[in-house]
């Protein structure tokens, strides 16, 4: 694994992320107009949807890392894949929670079935919840990495298919979110939305690199310790 690259640009990245997050927050609260129907509560959508999009991309990118792992046999790709999935799952909880909050404040129910992003997300989330139990039920580390990669590739291919299926289904031809957002979003809303996506993507990347650096350092430490013990 490239030891030097991990920590180096992390500092700069963190600053840029913080800056963009701040900009995003300012825009959400002061720039974007209030929604005509839902008022202030609609603003949670600026957290919910970007987080959903970023984590879904995280799952798919993890699948690509997994492909690289299987093709090269280099375990560092598996670590990158693992961290991406792990992070996406944790943020995924946030997606479901913000989704529930939004559903409750907007329509009075904690869960609604006619929201395609949310429904499709729940299924993906349930699938990826099996990732860690799968990993930990395999003792041999090499086999664990390989099987995890197979899972990540299969599940990564599943994400878009699942989304297509849910969108095609009859009840979802009039999704509430996308009719508000897709075609009819006013310019300032749209700009805020994209800034939020960018901020969320950078946040994900920063956290991802941070966790990778953490793991890498821990591994180096473990290796040194083992070498010392062997010499003792």
């Amino acid at each position: 694994m490239n030891s030097v690259l991990f920590g180096k640009r992390l500092g700069t990245l963190a600053w840029v992320t913080a800056g963009l997050l701040l900009a995003a927050m300012l825009m959400v609260f002061f720039y974007a107009p209030e929604d005509a129907d839902q008022g202030f509560r609609q603003k949670i959508f600026y957290v919910h949807v970007p987080m959903a999009i970023v984590t879904l991309c995280g799952f798919m990118v993890a699948g690509i890392f997994a492909i690289k792992h299987l093709r090269s046999g280099d375990r560092s790709w598996d670590v990158r894949s693992y961290v991406a999935i792990h992070l996406s799952i944790m943020l995924g909880v946030g997606v479901l929670l913000t989704g529930a909050i939004w559903a409750k404040t907007a329509w009075g129910h904690w869960w609604v079935w006619d929201e395609p992003v949310l429904v499709s997300y729940l299924i993906v989330f349930l699938l990826y919840c099996c990732y860690q139990p799968l990993r930990f039920s395999i003792a041999d580390p090499e086999r664990q990495s390989r099987y995890a990669s197979v899972f990540a590739i299969t599940a990564g291919a599943f994400v878009p298919l699942n989304f297509i299926a849910v969108r095609l289904a009859e009840q979802y031809t009039h999704p509430r979110v996308l009719s508000e957002t897709g075609g009819d979003m006013p310019g300032d809303m749209r700009l805020t939305f994209f800034v939020c996506i960018a901020a969320m993507a950078l946040l994900f990347t920063t956290l991802w690199k941070l966790e990778l650096t953490n793991k890498h350092t821990a591994e180096q430490l473990r290796r040194l310790r083992r070498r010392l013990e062997a010499q003792a």
Partner: protein, 224 residues
Amino acid sequence: MIATARAILRKDLTIEVRRRESVPAMVLFTVTVFVLFHFGLDRDTVEGDIATGVIWVTLLLAALLGINRLYVAERDQGGFVGMRLAPIDLTALWLAKAVALFVYLVALEIVALPAFDLLLLGPGLDGALPELLPILLLANLGVAAVGALVAALAIETRARELIVALLLLPLLVPVILAAAQATEPLLTGGQSPDDLAQWLGFLALYDVVFVLVSVAVFDFLLDE
């Protein structure tokens, strides 16, 4: 590769015909679940969306029984070792298992659908049959491909059957979604669904994607 797959398939079907373990269990399970639904829903007949749900969920859960057993003999009786020592393309194993599972599912449906018609279904199946067939075939293909892959993934893990169920059911949601959407109009009194083509197309896409994924990654599951 095809010849190898055929040899493995013949072996599996020989054992299944001789031991009669998977298919009868799946059939028995299905009929039992129909009875459960009768009591659970407190109804003598079902139709429309409820009928669709009952038949597809039941078939899927019955498939799980067959899927759990797919690789057990290979693991416990040295099948994997024997095949890894032979000059064969190991993807043939996946292919053989997927085809075997497809055959088991067809056998299951040949009994389960008339049973469903007899026990629970309100409107008859006869009119719906020609449209139902491609839905069943494409859905079976998807279940077979993904089932053969996930079963191999789970066979070496500790909580085998649990992992299969937890992994497989979300993966099969698009199949059940498409199949149900396509079937429902057929069970509400025989109308032909407008977007049958759309759902068949989606099922075909799902099948293609997962066949490709399975063929690409299966080898890595048997390596050591």
